[in-house]
Amino acid sequence: MQLESMYQEIILDHYKNPHGRGLRDPFDAEVHHVNPTCGDEVTLRVKLDGDTVADVSYEGMGCSISQASVSAMYDLVVGKPVAEALETGEHFMTLMQAKGDPAVAEKLEDELEDAVAFAGVSKYPARIKCALMSWMALKDASARALSTTVSATHPTTPAGGQ
């Protein structure tokens, strides 16, 4: 039985009681991302306050992994500077590429908090995209928000990686 390694209690909690769900006004950028292999979708809005992520609001449909991931991301990035939020996204990407290596998860525990529970997902290549969809949407929306807001006099180039 490998299931529990993917569906950690924390993931199921986020799935059943998502944090920050719903689309809210005002916002600086809205993006719509889909996972074309399965049809999962997320609409995500970002509101910036200067260089800080003031709010992330979202609606989406998808599996427990994709829905729990966006909820855990909400907890992690709201209130953080954009650059730091995107860096957290890079850490999450690293976790997803770890092929279940517990050492990687352990190292990222502080940065990823609840989201480190997604380590088990990295053993299932078909599900990694589910976990990453909302982070991709955040990266996209932040870039758009920065390019449209007046405060973005020093637009941060999103840290590399796809």
Partner: protein, 436 residues
Amino acid sequence: MTSTASRPDTGARTPLPLDVEAIRADFPILSRTVRDGKRLVYLDSGATSQKPRQVLDAERWFYENVNAAPHRGAHQLAEEATGAYEEARAKIGAFIGAPENEVVFTRNTTEAINLVAYALSNAATAKEPEFRTYAVGQGDEIVVTEMEHHADLVPWQQLCERTGATLRWLGLTDDGRLDLSDLATVVNERTKLVAVTQQSNILGTINPIAPIVERAHEVGALVLVDGAQSVPHQPVDVTELGADFLVFSGHKMLGPTGVGVLWGRYEVLDKLPPFLTGGSMIEVVRMEGSTFMPPPQRFEAGVPMTAQVVGLGAAVDYLQRLGMEKVEEHERALTAYALEQIAAIPGVTVIGPPDTVARGGAVSFTVEGIHPHDVGQVLDDLGIAVRVGHHCAWPVVRRYGVPATTRATFYVHTGYDDVDALADGIRAAQKFFGTV
């Protein structure tokens, strides 16, 4: 994870027409285990079928004994390779009741459909007048159905975009059938081609082709039948079908990947310009221009997938030995049992016809409160391979108001034990996610 829930016992387990144990012994992959030693319960033949040893042996035989490029060279191997390739063509043609010169090999169903779609747009600019017979242009209409796989939808959307033609479609009824009530208006004198699937890859519905062919031919339109999910699972005869084109894939009918078939009525194929051009398909080449071979060679540019065609020939032999009527009956018995077992689970909704009337063995369903991905993950953990998602038929899942489904598909090696494993697995998923 165990399930103690009892399954309904209504005596639906009629003896299966095929000897499942004997057939399983022919499929090497079925003896492997998955996810920590679990028996592989393969319920994803609708995506791609597993291959019996006879097919694998045929490919190996070709490479070990006669490998050469067919239709080129005068050496013995070239002769024998050409012979093996053309023998397989005749065999595959006979399987669908077609003469060999009406059988064109493509990479798969998708490429076969694209071949026709591009031929119809290439026709408009062909320098040979006879190649312009079926040209599609502005004011013309192409008709599809809302039930099509993306492979039988997107190429037609693209054809319309290239030519200025209009795409129209037949809708679906709530019970998973084609809505033919407006057939006479949707298919009209502007229609150039109607493309329809014979068996839905997601709903399992078997469509009535005859009335569509009758209406299309009444207005002079061509009919292409997508047989990707029908040819592997039921007897199909092109004469009975009455259409102008039938397309299907080798890999879904026990054959290798990389080979598909376009069958076309010769007089239609003969008037189509080529899609892909290059070697093998030419008659005379000069710097100023070239002329092309008659069908089927006109549509087979380059060195073909010879070993795979030979493998598909062996797959056809295998299916014919079992008998396609028996294959169809076998799957009907399994489908009846699966519909009963699965629909009896509280919270499970079957998407598609609820009984086996005009229905094949694709059983799609949703489980209340559990996303199909998560259902699939629990099943996978138990060794059960199913398909989850929109099954390359996004408009269909949208039509029935679900984001995705879980789909089980059956084939010649499927037994009641596989269906029982599926039903137990669904109950296990419900238990795991706490929805019951």
